[in-house]
């Protein structure tokens, strides 16, 4: 008896298709109490800067109405809303992938229903500071890959720039469209015990998280519809439109109907949800490296009707994966020959390759000097004070204070490769001391900031948890930079933890910027 097996999807083209691992699903059930309303009576802001309270029982002005409304809800109603919000995100498949976790590839980013509130005044200052910073950083990038005036004028040592892992010498002499290198950035901000804002990190390559800003808002609107009518909250939904405008502006002038694509590493990347979300919101094509070829001097994509020219690439893969013939030779994610086309001005790439140099934590420390040098202004949002381990005097200070400082690898991000002195063992401190001594260029140290806190719904009560903020900024040439109101508030859900990264037990909250 002959059997005809079922025609199966070709494995050769679909190289990323693997049999899926078991995926965690379902939300752990929450037990419901009945009766009591949810009260902040017992909520203690403690010895921290609290975003919603000035003292126990005293909400900040901007948060007063929110607190009142939450307190009018019964416990089970609030918990039900939290659960419904979480369920919605799960059903929407708003998930991220965790590397090295073989339990399953997808998880929902935990979401907390208590929103963060930023007053209109605070926001105005932040917005100004963020615009200032991205403007200076763009000047810096264009300078160091071309004339290097900032080096020649002795502001930043040549050695510091050239030893940064993100510095890409193949980008020397490149003139990207309109002289803009970094179009999209997500700057990490924190507040200390006094409530002072600091810039903790710049993310100039491909910052992620903006999709959560948009989805969190959608969920909050359906969770607390009436609050949105009562409070004057700045809308965030404008982001995809603004981003598309920024990207379209980069197309070569003679192209009348430019083809803009989003280049993603593919469905197994941790930020894949965001890639597909943004492509969908902007109505542009999401491509992977294998969909693109360089042909006849142009970048083209493989369509069912043959090859089709691409004019602007919003890349969501790291600099050194972009073109295996120029950077990392073993990269399967990029497009061989892409850099030649970029150099010839026949395709625009946002952000331009090479922007990662300013993500280096040593370069970060020079941003105040950049602002002074290029803009002749003083920095509006300060940097966190930074010790250079390269400097002998500073290094010995760092080494003798490892138990109180935060040490960071200059080329790492995402909460990896760091030592939080106050929460570390002697053994870990010794390990970092060795690392610093062997590779002083590779490490910087900063004082441990006591991050601000916020009430967060944990085990059916409100508890203070540390947070940070990542606003998203778009930089084009035709108008002033656009800052999406608010940004992604990440919260460290573990008690006392200062690490807010999604891969390490972090969650998120909606961020409400009030119109005054």
């Amino acid at each position: 008896m002959r059997e005809i097996t079922l025609w199966q999807k070709s494995q050769s083209l679909d190289t990323q298709f693997r049999s899926p691992k078991s995926v965690k699903c379902g939300i752990p059930p929450i037990l419901l109490f009945h009766g009591d309303t949810m009260s902040f009576r017992d909520y203690d802001p403690g010895d921290f800067y609290d975003e919603l309270f000035t003292a126990k029982g005293t909400p900040r002005t901007a948060a007063a109405l929110l607190i009142e409304r939450i307190e009018s809800l019964s416990i089970d109603s609030l918990i039900r809303r939290q659960q419904a919000a979480q369920n919605t995100l799960f059903k929407l498949g708003v998930t991220f992938n965790v590397y090295g976790d073989n339990q399953g590839t997808e998880r929902v980013f935990p979401f907390d229903v208590v929103p963060r509130i930023i007053s209109g005044q605070d926001w105005q200052a932040l917005e100004k500071g963020l615009k200032q910073r991205i403007t200076a950083l763009n000047c810096f990038l264009d300078d160091i890959y071309n004339d290097q005036k900032i080096v020649e004028d002795g502001i930043i040592p040549r050695e510091t720039i050239e030893s940064a892992s993100g510095f890409l010498s193949p980008c020397m002499g490149i003139k990207p469209p309109k002289g803009v290198w970094c179009h999209i950035t997500g700057t990490d901000l924190v507040r200390d015990r006094a409530g002072t804002w600091y810039v903790l990190e710049d993310n100039l390559r491909c910052p992620s998280g903006v999709s959560y800003v948009l989805e969190n808002r959608t969920v909050m609107k359906s969770t607390f519809p009436t609050l949105f009518n009562e409070l004057n909250i700045q809308a965030v939904d404008d982001y995809p439109g603004q981003l598309l405008e920024t990207l379209l502006e980069l197309a070569p002038e003679h192209v009348s109907d430019p083809e803009v694509v989003l280049l993603s590493p593919g469905a197994f990347n941790s930020a894949y949800f965001e890639h597909s979300f943004l492509a969908q919101q902007m109505g542009i094509t999401l491509v992977e490296g294998r969909d693109l070829v360089v042909d006849d001097g142009y970048v083209k994509m493989r369509t069912t009707k043959g090859l089709q020219q691409v004019d602007v690439i919003y890349r969501r893969i790291d600099d050194d994966f972009i073109d295996p013939t120029v950077f990392r030779a073993n990269s399967m994610l990029g497009v061989p020959g892409l850099m030649d086309v970029f150099r010839a001005g026949r395709v625009a790439i946002a952000n331009a390759p090479g922007t990662g140099v300013a993500d280096d934590k040593l370069i970060y420390a020079y941003v105040p000097q950049m602002i002074r040098y290029y803009l002749d202004e003083e920095q509006i949002i300060p940097n966190v004070p930074t010790y250079f381990c390269e400097d002998q005097k500073q290094q010995s200070h760092v080494l003798s204070n490892l138990d109180s400082l935060v040490v960071k690898a200059t080329d790492a991000s995402g909460g990896y490769g760091m030592l939080i002195g106050t929460q570390s063992s002697a053994e870990e401190q010794n390990l970092f001391a060795e690392k610093i001594k062997t590779n002083p260029r590779g490490y910087i140290a900063q004082p441990t900031l006591c991050l601000s806190r916020m009430p967060t719904l944990i085990d059916q009560s409100f508890q203070g948890r540390h947070i940070d903020l990542r606003p998203f900024i778009l930089y084009g040439q035709s108008k002033s930079p656009y800052v999406n109101p608010g940004g992604l508030t990440r919260v460290a859900l573990r008690e006392g933890s200062l690490v807010v990264n999604s891969s390490q037990g972090g969650g998120s909250k909606d961020t409400w910027v009030m119109n005054n």
Partner: protein
């Protein structure tokens, strides 16, 4: 549209349709078991035969018992055509083209996936009747949501093409179940038991009621004619091929002469359904006819792949390929 995306939408639809039809296979048998007179042995082997995974099944089990076959076809993640594997594959394909399909489609696939994964955890086969009918409904919901929310442009047509080719193949296989089902004795042909088997088969193709309206009396020839040659029943092979052909010509953008390879392969097959007679089918042998049909359907799938998905790397290559096909 991107070749990779076209491929994923095509397979997303094939896998959803496949999951639905595996549920239909299982239902034929569950239906039969309920109607079987006491004393007639349960037959699970035919199900393995028609799904085309016998080799894999035999590697694991020596005998086809109810539990093993049900698990193999339903929840076994190492069996590539189990309902669960199909739904997982559908979801992975959907996930890689989320920006192209509508949010509603994605939500539907995701809900389908969660539903099957939950059922797999509980694994209470006592309630399996409800489960299989839920699988069918989830597939219908997906198809309905796609029709109602996705623009009927190239992506929709790739999806429709995948769904129709898969459905034609599966209707052929459902009809073939009867070939493998044994009657206790040769004398039982045409008896109530024989009729019960044909009725169960019609029911599993959701064809029983529509059949009664057209053919009325149950007969092997009538059932074969209805499921192969009926021009109006949406699961008949002829109907599926007609729709597949329409979508294919929308995709390729021309319907004139000098068709591409997939159009030739599919057109030939569709014409065969159009002009063949039931007598000719029975002369060849129903089982042989269905076997041949499945092989040709596989060939159509292969041609779609070469025509649209596995494209040449550069325009020079394209020109050469186009040039050579013009000459031939």
């Amino acid at each position: 549209m991107l070749s990779r995306v076209a491929d994923s939408i095509y397979w997303l639809n094939r896998y959803i349709e496949r999951a639905e039809n595996v549920a239909r296979f299982v239902e034929v048998n569950l239906n039969l078991l309920m109607d079987n007179p006491v004393g007639v042995a349960q037959q699970w082997d035919p199900l393995i035969a028609v799904t085309g995974d016998r080799t894999l099944f035999n590697e694991r089990y020596d005998q086809a018992t109810a539990d093993r076959v049900l698990d193999f076809l339903t929840f076994d993640t190492t069996s590539p055509n189990s309902i669960r594997s199909c739904v997982r594959a559908a979801r992975e394909n959907a996930r890689s083209v989320r920006e192209t399909i509508s949010s509603e489609m994605w939500e539907q696939v995701n809900a389908f996936y969660l539903q099957v994964e939950d059922a797999a955890k509980e694994k209470d086969s006592r309630d399996s009747y409800a489960f299989y009918s839920e699988v069918k409904m989830a597939s219908h919901r997906f198809a309905g949501v796609m029709d109602a929310t996705l623009s009927w442009t190239e992506s929709w047509h790739f999806g429709q093409l995948g769904r129709m080719l898969e459905r034609a193949d599966k209707t052929a296989r459902i009809l073939d179940v009867k070939y493998f089902l044994l009657l206790p004795t040769v004398q039982e042909v045409g008896t109530p038991l024989d009729n019960l088997q044909w009725i169960a088969l019609l029911k599993s193709a959701s064809a029983y009621e529509m059949y009664r309206k057209t053919e009325q009396m149950i007969s092997p020839a009538g059932v074969a004619k209805f499921l192969i040659l009926d021009g109006h029943f949406p699961r008949s092979i002829k109907f599926c091929l007609k729709w597949a052909e329409d979508s294919l010509s929308e995709i390729s953008g021309f319907s004139g002469h000098d068709p591409i390879s997939s159009q030739r392969a599919l057109g030939r097959l569709r014409a065969q359904m159009e002009y063949t007679t039931l007598d000719e089918i029975f002369q060849q042998g129903l089982h042989e006819f269905l076997d041949n049909l499945q092989l040709q359907l596989n060939n159509v799938g292969q041609c779609v792949y070469t025509d649209f998905i596995a494209l040449p790397e550069t325009t020079n290559d394209t020109a050469m390929v186009m040039g050579s096909s013009m000459q031939s």
